[in-house]
């Protein structure tokens, strides 16, 4: 098995950010919530007026930007993973059931997918968060309930392909229960395809959380979400562009890494699910 340079880069990025998130308390030089009103809007240290105490400077409340960035990786990754677990469960269940049973059941699943696609994603997510109140849990659940359709599409088509294979018939002949067949025979065979979808959806969920937080209806302050950091820096961006550049680049690099990893997995597993 040969891993391409791009896949390796993706692995490197994601690996580094996972380690950052796990080791945040040790890595962060400052408390990400500690305000210092005497040291506000200090630019990164390589810029004029930078301070050696704050590598990436401070924000409008004097909080250390590097520490907030480090803690922010926790939020992005947590949102990404938890959303994909939720939406993956919903989508895979629907898709496998539709693909395996076919007929009317499949029609219903297809209809659900069509309806989901017709619902404007960001708008509905914003509405839900606005009505229930913003918190990490609400954002995860909302995105999880909305981002399942690609899991369903892929699980459905791959289950259809697997359904007619010999070992499924053998399992049926051996008298295995339907649930057993779905979990033990079908699911392991379609899993590689679902893993590829999971990377794509994780990237999407992270971008969406950032967008929601940017619009003020995602993760509530003072949590250091990268999207929120961009929103908070927006008022200062004309004079201190770095306040939006730093979290923006972090977001971009993380999503790029996940996508590179996903592309690599797709090539490695030989699945041909195209976006």
């Amino acid at each position: 098995m040969r891993i391409s340079a791009a896949t390796f880069l993706g692995l490197l990025i994601v690996g580094a950010l996972v380690l950052t998130a796990l080791g945040a308390p040790r890595l962060a030089p400052w408390d990400p919530f500690a305000q210092d009103l005497m040291a506000r809007m200090i630019p990164p240290r390589w810029m004029e007026g930078g301070s050696p105490a704050h590598w990436l400077g401070t924000d409008q409340l004097g909080r250390d930007y590097l520490s907030r960035l480090i803690y922010g990786s926790r939020i992005s990754l947590m949102i990404g993973v938890l959303t994909v677990v939720t939406s993956g469960f919903i989508g895979t269940s629907l898709g496998v059931v539709g693909g395996y049973f076919g007929g009317r059941t499949d029609d219903v699943v297809m209809f659900a997918i069509t309806c989901r696609l017709a619902i404007p994603l960001i708008l509905v997510a914003l509405t839900v968060v606005a009505l229930i109140g913003s918190s990490l849990t609400v954002v995860v659940l909302t995105l999880g309930l909305l981002l399942w359709e690609r899991f369903a599409v892929v699980a459905r088509t791959t289950t259809m392909q697997v359904r007619n294979l010999d070992y499924i018939a053998a399992a049926q002949a051996a008298g295995a229960s339907t649930l057993h067949i779905l979990l033990r025979e079908v699911l392991p065979n379609i899993l590689p395809h679902l893993v590829v979808v999971a990377t794509l959806e994780m990237a999407l969920a992270i971008l969406l959380e950032a967008a929601l937080s940017f619009l003020g209806l995602g993760v509530p302050p003072p949590l250091p979400s990268w999207g929120l950091m961009i929103a908070e820096g927006k008022d200062y961006m004309f004079f201190s562009p770095w306040v939006i550049m730093v979290p923006g680049v972090a977001l971009f690099v993380l999503v790029l890494g996940i996508n590179l990893l996903g592309d690599g997995l797709r090539d490695l597993l030989g699945t041909s699910q195209r976006r």
């Binding site: 209809f111 017709a118 960001i122 708008l123 939006i244 923006g248 999503v255 996508n259 195209r274």
Partner: protein
């Protein structure tokens, strides 16, 4: 063909009805709407008045059918915030969002299709890889952040293009570019894959054997066959772009549907939220229907079937 379109139309109608239910139940999520509308300072008497004035004291199914029946006849209710008919508000704002979506789509197609064609013609080359990188970057770019960066760069440093508002047509350029970025990766990859398949086909060998020009071979014979999935995805992407314009409109201060929705969500103006959700779903459904019809025009085999 007609039977197929009829089935699709019935399906589209059912989808819109479902979205209607979803949009309605969505706004009832918070429990008591009247409390949300009244705000933190409302007394219990105020809330009771609100409940009565807005008809919120009636049973939910009654409220729903009342709203749905009115919506079907074009009456989308009144905005709590603007004290004006919702349909009027939407009519006023829709052109901006449509202009934004269409410029986004145009920019996306004008970028993705030529790049996809070139990529396919030079498959495996350095150029092909470079173009693949563009798709990868586009996919990873947070659109609102890209918008802000462009605003800083163009608006402030270069001062070429307006960074907010659409008083003139060039106000659509920057937000259009940002919106296009979200659609380019999918369209680009699809065009490339379709063109690679088409260019290696037997009918392209025939076209070359006939001595046709490269332009005719690539643009007439190959592209026509590669275009079908691109058309479908372009329609879907336009739907997504209109839905996603909420972010772009806030970045560029464009007062379109998205901005209206965001404002309404922040201020608990539910009739407007419901209406915009429904409208966007209808537009999306209409677009996919349109794509099916366009594909039938593109592929004679579909017409017969």
């Amino acid at each position: 063909m007609l039977g197929f379109l009829f089935r699709r139309a019935v399906l589209a109608l059912l989808v819109c009805l479902t979205v209607l239910v979803v949009a309605f139940s969505l706004t009832r999520l918070s429990g008591d709407l009247a409390v949300s509308i009244g705000g933190p300072n409302a007394t219990s008497e105020d809330i009771a008045t609100i409940r009565k004035n807005y008809g919120l004291d009636r049973p939910l199914p009654v409220q729903f059918f009342d709203w749905a029946a009115n919506a079907a006849s074009g009456d989308l209710g009144r905005s709590y915030l603007y004290h004006a008919p919702v349909s009027g508000l939407i009519k006023e704002r829709l052109p901006i969002t449509l202009g934004l979506g269409l410029s986004g789509l145009a920019i996306a197609l004008l970028t993705a299709i030529p790049l996809g064609i070139v990529s396919a013609m030079r498959e495996g080359s350095v150029l092909d890889r470079a173009i693949g990188l563009v798709a990868l970057i586009g996919q990873a770019m947070p659109s609102f952040w890209l918008g802000l960066v462009l605003v800083i760069w163009f608006g402030l440093k270069l001062q070429w293009l307006p960074i907010s508002g659409v008083d003139t047509w060039d106000g659509f350029i920057l937000p259009g570019i940002v919106l296009a970025f979200s659609a380019i990766p999918a369209l680009l990859r699809l065009t490339r894959a379709g063109m690679i398949e088409a260019l290696s086909s037997d009918y392209i060998r025939t076209a070359r054997a006939k001595g046709l020009s490269t332009a005719s071979i690539v643009l007439k014979h190959a592209l026509r066959n590669a275009a079908m999935p691109v058309v479908s995805v372009a329609a879907v992407q336009l739907g997504f772009m209109l839905g996603g314009s909420i972010v772009i409109e806030t970045v560029f201060a464009l007062h379109g549907i998205g901005y209206l929705a965001w404002e309404s969500i922040s201020k608990n103006d539910f009739p407007v939220v419901q209406a915009v959700v429904l409208l966007l779903a209808m537009i999306y459904t209409g677009l996919t229907l349109l794509a099916d019809m366009m594909n039938a025009v593109l592929d004679p085999r579909l017409r017969a079937g």
